[in-house]
Amino acid sequence: MAETLAGAAAANVRAYRDIGLMWTRAAMAYPASFWMMAFSGFVVGGLDFVGIWIMFHTVDSLGEWNLREIAFLYGASGFGLAFADMLVGRVERLGDLIRTGRLDAMFLKPLPLLLQVCADEFALRRLSRILQSVVVLGVACTFVAWSPVKVLVTLSMIASSSVIYLAIFVAFACIQFWTIDANEVANAFTYGGNAVTQYPLSIYPREVVTGLTLVVPLAFVNWYPALYVIGKPDPYGFPDWLRFASPLAAVVLMALALLVWRTGVRHYTSTGS
């Protein structure tokens, strides 16, 4: 059973790769457009951080975090978002797929629906956003006083950050099974969530941080593991074990997202003809 499950998973990964490659080839039919989009993705993402950097010319710290420490937060959240966006970002166009009947066509292929939706119009150029986050995170990492546990926590943070954003993309996209025009809702939590977690949560009121821990657990994307890796006290006095709980939050959130997806698919009513 475990073997067939692993076999099925491997087959799905291969299918995603094949579909992704095909869209990449299709995108390469217009190479100039591809490279321009990739380059602008890198620059726009970079400008974001330049903004924070300029801000630090007038302030020395933000919520008692300095620029290098904030770069760590920025890189971790940015990587998670960019990675999730590349893998499943197209799920936010679910409403369009429903409207045009393309989702119906996906029902007719022997692959999981979510895989097909996410692989649809796969855009390799989004790799540039990931790259940009990696650069910032990489630089930030050079200032960390490393220990083996810190390495583990950092690696699990990067993985969890990606999975949490994946789950948020999927869960909120599902709203479109009920109301077709709701893709902005997901944006509020993905891109909006990234904008919030670029900064140390210590600049927000306690209630906001509680919400980001318990309701939409974006605090696990970078905040809690960073507290451990950089070695800071929790300004709100939340329990220390939260610093290691990011993988748990990621798994729970992903399970919830898949449940919502399943419910959405069974609720699906297609379009007129």
């Binding site: 299918a15 094949d18 095909m22 299709a26 039919a29 022997p110 297609s270």
Partner: protein, 323 residues
């Protein structure tokens, strides 16, 4: 591929199928009421291996809803459903390997890629063995005359070419059942004829079961040994096309152009429906022979020209709905 079928041997088995939709209707700016719309109810039929079935009915009768339930897109509200021995909505991915589906009005091919590349991805998606893929591709490309177009991006194909491409795409994994939704819509006469010829060959040589929805009587006449007519979500007729004409009380029309204007023609076996100058329209039962009527008219009048109009399937169906 070995064919899979349900306990009673039918490839498609539909029993007391129901599907309702909830539609929200606004009554004022902020209030709305929920209406239950019944799309399909009490639908029962079965299809055997190798049949070619025309599934027809007016717009909104429940055709698409039925096909969507058979293919696993929609979950039935009630009733039982089995296709190739599988429960479509629960075993969708497995069922997909047994089905080919062609939508006349939209393509499942990749717009910017050559046909060849779309087909190659399908081989990976369905995990068809490379040998079988190559053999099927060669055969279908030959039969549908697509050889010169394999390297053309789909967006540059004409509607007829794209449709043939879509049909090849639906068949590469050797499906036992092929669903066609308005397969000839928008095609010219020659393309329609070619396509029908191809579908007949497919059915004869591979025993592929065909189920098609169409508004084109000629599709039905050329292809289907059996017709299911659906109206208001339920089957109102299920049987051979010939019986449909008898049941619908359908008529053929003899159009007579006389040399001079004349009063209404009166011959046994036909009724004159309309007179317009020298032209007259006579109707007679669809299953009766036209020969004696034509002979009688020609014997009694100076005839300049004659033509026979076949019954319009829409009229026949309308006739059935009204009973």
């Amino acid at each position: 591929m070995t064919s899979t079928s349900s306990a009673d041997g039918s490839l498609i088995q539909v029993r007391d199928l129901h599907r309702t939709f909830t539609v929200r209707r606004k009554t004022s700016r902020f209030r709305g009421v929920r209406d239950e719309v019944v799309a399909v109810h009490d639908l029962t039929f079965s299809v055997e291996v190798g049949e070619m079935v025309g599934y027809i009915g007016p717009n909104g009768a429940g055709k698409s809803t039925t096909i969507k339930m058979l293919t696993g897109i929609l979950v039935p509200t009630d009733g039982s459903l089995s296709v190739a021995g599988l429960d479509p909505s629960r075993q969708r991915t497995e069922l997909a390997r047994h089905l080919g589906v062609v939508f006349g009005q939209r393509t499942t091919l990749w717009w910017d890629l050559p046909l060849r590349d779309s087909f190659a991805v399908l081989q990976k998606i369905y995990r068809t063995s490379p040998e079988r893929h190559r053999a099927n591709l060669a055969e279908y490309v030959e039969l549908l005359d697509l050889g010169d177009l394999l390297d053309t991006p789909v967006r540059q194909l004409s509607l007829g070419q794209r449709m043939r491409g879509d049909i090849v795409a639906a068949l590469l994994h050797d499906p036992e059942i092929l669903f066609l939704d308005e397969p000839t819509i928008g095609l010219d006469v020659i393309s329609k004829g070619r396509l029908r010829e191809f579908l007949r060959t497919l059915n004869a040589e591979r025993r592929t079961t065909l189920m098609l929805t169409t508004h084109d009587l000629q599709d039905i006449e050329a292809l289907c040994d059996r017709v299911i007519v659906i109206d208001h979500g339920t089957a109102v007729f299920d049987g051979p096309l010939a019986d449909l004409h008898t049941q619908g009380g359908s008529t053929r029309t003899l159009v007579v152009d006389l040399v001079d204007e004349a009063p209404a023609i009166s011959v046994p076996g036909a009724v004159t429906r309309r007179v317009e100058g020298p032209r007259q329209w006579l109707s007679f039962p669809a299953d009766a022979s036209a020969a004696p009527i034509v002979a009688a008219v020609a014997a009694a009048y100076d005839v300049a020209d004659l033509s026979i109009q076949e019954p319009d399937i829409e009229d026949v169906i309308r006739e059935i709905y009204q009973r």
